[in-house]
């Protein structure tokens, strides 16, 4: 068969290539550039090889923030995914309440991230905040600016409040796409609600849930604004997640080399974990 050769097509791809180059490849390459060099100011750079990478990978500070990041991400996943599915299951599938529920669910997603942080900061203040004062009034010694445990509690609660909706909406989309015949067949087969969830709803939600988990994993692993506004990484370093630590090194200390190396490691961790996760989730699909 003779294919028609038309090299003009490249011309049409060019704008996209240029766009990707300017907003992804070139910035990434400058980071790569910094990560292998040392500078003593004056805009003079020296070759440093993998020194910064070694330094970051062996630094206790990096291990500590990575550890906190992991705890944060897996905590919010462990809460948001089941909670989101649960809420989606209780939402009506037909009728006038559907749009009401959907809008209510979408509301937290529409609030700018730093506003969420500020809202929760004020909400949780022990002396004037509604949450802080109430907790103290009913006998809890709650102070998120001084006690690391309270800071973590508030940070996780804030993320659950902000992002569970996303899981709900995705899970709900999966649920409403199940044809009625499945429920009817299950009814006829005498399946109990738990069996319906296990054998119909969960398998049908699997794809959207995979997406939900991936999105929540990536977003929470990169999260910066909300915890920064809420706790600023404190008290001490107790809520300093990876991105907060990175900003401290890059802009606070202006250590460009280590910061660049850390950025790349950070990026590779997210990429690798997403890939592993997706492969594992989708493996069953192939069988």
């Amino acid at each position: 068969m003779n294919k028609i050769e038309n090299q003009k097509a490249w011309f049409f791809v060019l704008p996209v290539l240029a766009l990707v180059a300017f907003n992804a490849i070139i910035p990434l390459m400058t980071v790569v550039n910094y990560s292998v060099q040392e500078t003593f100011g004056d805009n003079t750079f020296f070759w440093a090889g993998v020194m910064w990478f070694e330094q970051v990978l062996t630094s206790e500070r990096f291990h500590a923030s990575l550890g906190r990041q992991m705890i944060f991400t897996f905590s919010i996943l462990a809460i948001e995914i089941p909670l989101g599915v649960l809420i989606a299951l209780t939402m009506p599938r037909k009728g006038p309440w559907v749009p009401v529920c959907l809008v209510l669910m979408a509301l937290p997603l529409l609030i700018p991230w730093n506003v969420v942080g500020a809202m929760w900061n004020i909400f949780a203040l022990p002396d004037i905040g509604l949450l802080g004062r109430t907790l103290n009034a009913i006998g809890f010694d709650y102070n998120f600016t001084r006690q690391p445990g309270d800071a973590w509690f508030t940070m996780i609660l804030m993320d659950v409040w902000h992002w569970t909706s996303l899981v709900v909406l995705l899970a709900y989309a999966g649920l409403v796409s199940i044809p009625d015949a499945y429920y009817q067949a299950a009814k006829i087969d005498g399946a109990k609600p738990l069996a319906i969830f296990r054998y119909i709803q969960l398998p049908k939600m699997k794809r959207v849930l995979t997406i939900a988990i991936l999105l929540r994993f990536m977003d929470s692993f990169m999260i910066y604004t909300e915890p920064f506004v809420l706790t600023g990484g404190g008290p001490g370093n107790s809520t300093t997640l990876l991105s907060i630590d990175l900003v401290k090194i890059a802009l606070g200390q202006f250590d460009l080399g280590p910061a660049a190396a850390m950025s790349l490691i950070y990026f590779l961790i997210i990429l690798a974990m997403s890939w592993v996760f997706y492969t594992v989730m989708m493996r069953n699909e192939a069988n």
Partner: protein
């Protein structure tokens, strides 16, 4: 197994139905004999699926009752009625193996595992799924999945009726025929009452001992395939069943004789007709012949259907079709048609005219 009785059944999807057109199902009184193979035939939107869902219990009728062997089940849930249903689109539990799919209804009912195993293997044998028992159900083709749906109904020993809601819609044409004969064979083996909903007359007529023809939420005729062909109770049945459908022509009846455009035509039931308005004459193309005398017509078109030819003729605004065997010479332009009087019948307002006036 059970005899199913529908008594004074009506259903509307509206909360406050007032006029007849608000009802998806008009008045229905039907008996389904135990062990019968029934087809529910009608065009889309005639209420077939509504009726099916009412029998299975997925829908509660607005009026009337459903009896299984004399017991009122109108308010019972589907699983309490002991029925099985095969849907238009195959429903299988994707994550389970074929075996687990078939075992599912039994396990839900707490049947002992040894008994489950025995039943599942027996049924798998019946529907030719033995070799795929260990496979994931999601990997099967559409016809395999439909077999699983059917199998989930067959494994239960307490099933009163198995219902099929256009089960061959998504099946490849060459497998449709296979699956249909398999169904027929299974029915002869298990003798469970089966109700098969379809809008395809071939499916209905080959599967069923008795066909229930529906139109606009009403049953227009219940009968064997032969009844439907030879004695359509309504011009709709004549149209809908048969290919091409029955010819319907306006007529007058005077002194027990039927006239079409002034030409007297023999009809077996004209003598019972005491009416003058709204009369029509129905005759199937199979019972119309080319002849030397009779109704003069113009030949409009001849289409070859293999073993016979379909001749489209015109008389004025009316079209009359007839079937002519292969090889018979057809006149170029003008011809005369003769109708077989024992298969030419008079209808009034669509209904077959009979001595007892049952449709008054």
């Amino acid at each position: 197994m059970a005899k199913i009785t529908l008594k004074g059944l009506r259903h509307s999807y509206m909360p406050n139905p007032s006029k007849p057109t608000d009802y998806a199902l008009q008045q229905l009184d039907v008996d389904w004999e135990d062990g019968g193979a029934y087809a529910l035939l009608g065009p889309s939107g005639c209420g077939k699926t509504t009726l099916l869902n009412i029998i299975s219990g997925l829908l509660t009728p607005s009026h009337g009752e459903i009896l299984f062997d004399g017991q009122d089940v109108t308010r019972m849930q589907p699983d309490e009625r002991h029925i099985a249903q095969v849907f238009q689109f195959p429903v299988v539990y994707d994550t389970m193996t074929v075996y687990d799919n078939l075992a599912f209804p039994l396990r839900n009912r707490g049947v002992a595992e040894a008994e489950v195993d025995k039943r599942v293997r027996e049924i798998a044998e019946m529907i030719d799924l033995t070799s795929t028992l260990d496979k994931r159900a999601s990997g099967l083709t559409a016809d395999g999945k439909q077999k699983i749906s059917l199998g989930r109904g067959l494994v239960r020993t307490d099933v009163n009726v198995i219902m099929f809601d256009e089960p061959l819609t998504v099946i490849d044409p060459h497998l449709k025929w296979q699956l249909r004969s398999k169904l027929k064979e299974l029915h002869q083996r298990v003798r469970t009452t089966m109700i098969y909903v379809t809008h395809d007359q071939t499916e209905a007529l080959t599967f069923a001992d008795k066909v229930v023809v529906m139109k606009d939420g009403q049953v227009v005729q219940i009968g064997t395939p032969v009844d439907l062909f030879e004695r359509p109770q309504h011009t709709f049945v004549g149209h809908f069943i048969g290919s091409p459908g029955m010819n319907v022509l306006p007529c007058q009846v005077k002194g027990g004789k039927a006239f079409y455009e002034g030409i007297e035509l023999g009809s077996w039931n004209a003598s019972a007709c005491k009416y003058e308005e709204g009369l029509e004459l129905g005759v199937r193309p199979e019972f119309v012949k080319l002849s030397d005398a009779g109704v003069p017509v113009e030949i409009a078109k001849v289409s070859d259907a293999g073993r016979f030819q379909i001749v489209h003729t015109r008389k004025g605004d009316h079209s009359i079709k007839l079937l002519v065997p292969e090889g018979v010479e057809i006149p170029e332009k003008h011809a005369h048609l003769a109708f077989r009087s024992d298969h030419t019948q008079v209808y009034r307002d669509g209904w077959l005219v009979s001595g007892d006036n049952s449709h008054e």
